[in-house]
């Protein structure tokens, strides 16, 4: 299968208000994401970063403003979209191999072609040999690896990840960060990665978009100038620390982090 070119995203002046709840989730978000770019969206819980992701996915319609994927206005999920959720959203009744076939099944594609791609993705994540296992037999980290493979199997042009490692323990989370980077370096998809971990956002992102508390606005955008592949040890470098301090200072300014009561 020949890889499709990654998608560019253009978010302009997007506002989303949930009338029922009387809540404005995001306000005046403008963001341009280049094809093949890895963008981390970082913010406190409930700041609307997931809402932005859902708007890009076409799962929510912005109240005002526009979102374009590859120059096409988003109205409903765009073609070639891969999504990863915080809870892996695997289908309990399908084994690993068949879970990976879900995107193919939904577009009535040829399973045989997709099997090859699925096998290579499973190998890339060290899951070969688990094809016949059911989700209930896997650990949290393995399940999330399967979910990522599923998001990639149909060669998406855009990968949207909503706090994918939020439910994992710290050690597994580090491991998944390393693996995700490796996969991204192989696949070079456009990735929008929502997280509330400062470290994770910097480690993975080409850019980190920092959100303010609700209604979410773009408070800052950092270009992360660290060579890839990044090693976990980079997190204790001065440069990394500089980025982290800058974000932390920003959060302190918003009243989100307080040293003293």
């Amino acid at each position: 299968m020949k890889a499709r070119p990654a998608a560019g995203i253009e978010v302009s002046a997007v506002r989303k208000r949930f009338a029922d709840a009387g809540v404005t989730a995001i306000e005046d978000i403008s963001l341009s994401i280049a094809p093949g770019e890895f963008v981390s969206v970082l913010g406190p819980s409930g700041c609307g970063k997931s809402t932005l992701l859902r708007c890009i996915a076409g799962l929510e319609t912005p109240t005002s403003g526009s979102i374009k994927v590859n120059g096409v206005e988003v109205s409903g999920p765009p073609e070639g979209l891969g999504m990863v959720f915080q809870r892996d959203a695997l289908l309990d009744w399908r084994n690993v191999a068949d879970n990976l076939m879900l995107p193919v099944d939904f577009r009535r594609g040829d399973r045989a072609v997709a099997r090859e791609r699925a096998a290579s993705l499973l190998a890339l994540t060290g899951l070969q040999g688990f094809e016949a296992s059911y989700p209930a037999q896997l650990s949290g980290g393995m399940r999330q690896r399967v979910a990522i493979c599923r998001a990639l199997v149909d060669d998406p042009v855009l990968l949207l990840m909503d706090e994918p490692f939020g439910a994992l323990d710290a050690l597994t989370r580090d491991q998944m960060n390393v693996e995700l980077q490796r996969m991204w370096l192989t696949e070079h998809k456009t990735v929008v990665f929502v997280t509330h971990s400062i470290t994770e956002a910097i480690f993975l992102g080409d850019r980190v978009v920092v959100f303010s508390p609700r209604p979410g606005r773009v408070a800052d955008v950092l270009e992360v100038d660290l060579l890839r592949p990044r090693r976990l040890a980079v997190r204790s470098s001065d440069k990394f620390d500089g980025y982290a301090t800058r974000i932390r200072t920003l959060f302190e300014g918003m009243g989100l982090l307080k040293e003293e009561a």
Binding site: L91, P135, A136, L138
Partner: protein, 259 residues
């Protein structure tokens, strides 16, 4: 089956045998009149006077039960799908079904005889009516129990309603549907017996009613015994189908997790 299950089965048989022995001993020791409570030996002896006759009637009752059950599954699942897929139908039909469920269905059995005659149809209809609610209610529950993330995933994959129903909602509902079917199969058997009580010349319900007329208590017990065996067998049939259909579900502890 695992060793533990065999052990459990053996225990159940032992307990049952113990109960029969206790029954036999108690009836003899207390000199209870056979017309009130015959000893199990008399019940078994009665069965052996004509096993083919009993099994013939049992066959009829079985067919009526399966007819009512099958109809309940077909109609019940269809209704459940319509209820889940349409907000309007959920507000109208579902409310109506919940309301109708509180009507004592046995009370309407004579009506079915007036409407459908004295053949097999009214008996199947009563079995259906008693069994269908369990199917509808449990299937609706199952179809609605899909995690919202999984529904979002289906949308993000541009899955239509039909594809989502077939590939996501339906398999997700299976454990719940089987729970409903386990209840429904027993209820269909109740319906079949009620139907035979109301009007029949065949079936175990008829056997019980006619034996009661001649105070042949041993015959009543023999028919109840056959009915019990049938009820248990039908339940295990559904449980066996469940095991085949949803080996992945937590209720089917067939495999051991790797971690």
């Amino acid at each position: 089956m695992k060793g533990g299950e065999w052990q459990g089965g053996a225990m159940a048989v032992l307990v049952l045998a113990g109960m029969f022995v206790a029954w036999e001993v108690a009836v003899r020791a207390l000199a209870v009149k056979p017309i009130i409570l015959p000893p199990p030996s008399a019940v078994f002896a009665e069965f052996w006077t004509g096993p083919a006759w009993y099994l013939g009637h049992a066959w009829y009752t079985l067919l009526v039960t399966l007819g009512g059950f099958g109809l309940a599954v077909a109609v019940g699942v269809l209704f459940a799908v319509l209820i889940v897929e349409s907000r309007l139908l959920e507000k109208t039909i579902y409310a109506l079904i919940i309301g109708l469920n509180s009507v004592p269905k046995v009370a309407v059995a004579p009506l079915f005889v007036i409407w459908l005659g004295t053949g097999v149809e009214p008996k199947i209809a009563i079995g259906f009516l008693i069994a269908v609610f369990a199917i509808v209610i449990d299937t609706v529950l199952g179809l609605k129990s899909v995690h919202p993330d999984i529904l979002d995933l289906a949308k993000s994959l541009r899955g239509g309603r039909l594809a989502t129903l077939w590939r996501i909602r339906f398999p997700c509902a299976l454990p719940s549907m089987f729970a409903g079917m386990k209840v429904a199969i027993s209820l269909a058997l109740v319906g079949a017996i009620v139907g035979e009580f109301v009007s029949s010349q065949r079936g175990l319900g008829y056997v019980i009613l006619s034996a009661q007329g001649t105070f042949d208590t041993a015959r009543v017990f023999a028919a109840i015994l056959v009915l019990s065996v049938m009820g248990v067998a039908l339940f295990w049939l559904i449980a066996w189908l469940e095991r085949l259909a949803i080996p992945w579900h937590a209720s089917q502890k067939e495999y051991t997790p790797t971690s």
